[in-house]
Symmetry: C2
Subunit: 314 residues, 2 copies
Amino acid sequence: MLAAAMDIGGTKTIIALVDNKGSIINKRQIKTNTYDYKAHFDCCIKLMEECLSEHFLNKQDILGLGINLPGMVNSTSGLLYHAPFAGWRNVKVIDYFSKQTGLKNIYIENDVNSCAEGEMFFGNTSGNFLWITVSTGIGGAVVVNNKLIFGENNCAGEIGHVKVEYENPRKCSCGQFGCTEAQASGTAINTLFKELIHKDSSYIDKLKQFDLNPDASGCAFLARLKDEECIKIFKTCGLYLGRALSTAANLLNPKEIFIGGGVSLSFDLIIDEIQKQIKENTIPQCSVVTVKPTALGYEAALLAAASLVFRRNK
Amino acid sequence: MLAAAMDIGGTKTIIALVDNKGSIINKRQIKTNTYDYKAHFDCCIKLMEECLSEHFLNKQDILGLGINLPGMVNSTSGLLYHAPFAGWRNVKVIDYFSKQTGLKNIYIENDVNSCAEGEMFFGNTSGNFLWITVSTGIGGAVVVNNKLIFGENNCAGEIGHVKVEYENPRKCSCGQFGCTEAQASGTAINTLFKELIHKDSSYIDKLKQFDLNPDASGCAFLARLKDEECIKIFKTCGLYLGRALSTAANLLNPKEIFIGGGVSLSFDLIIDEIQKQIKENTIPQCSVVTVKPTALGYEAALLAAASLVFRRNK
């Protein structure tokens, strides 16, 4: 069984065909056209059709289309309320795609909620878990008894804006202070690493030596070479993530917490500090939570978009 | 319609008959016998029967019996896992009461979860809310779509142990540091007030003058007389409660937060600071949450025990 999947992010969009075992059959990647969503959606459809025809398939051969969107979504009505990065507001996404493609089984979801759905379909979960994307920003999704929690305004799971530093907080892109996103996201790691380079110019030579960028992945490379200062940056990230996850564990008592997003590639550099924080800050019955990287790997969000189709058409 | 209700706490137990409008028909209060739960349960049953016979009623005239317990409960199997204050473990509560009384409709619940049920039955809720008891300790219950969330080990809602102070934390009875319970419970207010009296002996005269105890209610009395230092103590309590509630609002996006327990009697002294914290620490879509005192008043927990019966026998 095949599904079409579109992972529409604030910066890039991936279009793919995915089978129900989680294999990506064909794939395209483009920059997200934030100026004109209709033009962008049309382009996505064209690339989906290209993916199909390269495999001698047509739209009748797929079970449906799953779409991740970077913002607040009402998955039932098919409406994208607001995508802050793209600037889109009140877009009837399902209506548009179904008119342009003639497809009936079209599903949309917020990108992080979608990842939680993907973990349920392709991974192995207890059905009581938290999914957290640690990337440019930090987003979260809460699942209770195999169902996503949406909250009153479709905004549950905002662990990125839980406060984890009150005394010396960094300013967050949301305008508030001390949010997990400001203290522990990929962007926060970039900032900490740049501050380190600024303070100690020997890092400029190290970057040149290993052909690294002054960003989170450059920092991770050096941390794995046992650079104490770079290790410390990831420990700081783990400390703040650990504080946020402890809070979530006390409130929701989940069985698992799955971490995805770019920073999950540095899971080995943050997990010890996360575990330490959970042990210190969570009551014993809640501290038994298991923290692990997503089973879906780097393409988690794309597989997740496909899972929207498979979960609803079992 | 009448239900029998027992609110068994770590210190005292109240036994009552309650009607389905929330009126208490007859009531007894005793000290909780923590040494011998069977003797205590037998005593509760005797007092329930007294309440009935005083109104020329017998057990066939009540719809059932609802019991709050101060600890971890499995309401489905009728088991009390552990009541830390009383020291009871693995007690088959429903079995015991049904053998001793012959009643069929017996329901048990953790005391804070029960309050959330009571708010749904006797109060006016959206079905997406948080209930928090601020008393000697602090407990919480999470309701999503009119259902309690239990979590993996029946321990969801532990907002009392969410950390709200990392730099200068007070030690909590749980052994950890900076928990909401350690910073903002009735016990914390008692401590802050005692520290104030110790620092400034003029408060000893004030206590004598108004015949007050050196506790949270004494502090509230003076705060209402515009004593700046006592006002500050309640602001501190509001600040820490506000931090904890902001976190819960970001994670769960509830419509309402209900506050019960002794400290809710000082709601007027804490609400401004709570609102301020929520505005500063919660994303806009989640900050629209309404924080209010329970509609059930001082007897919230007792009415809640009765609601366990009414909600399941509508």
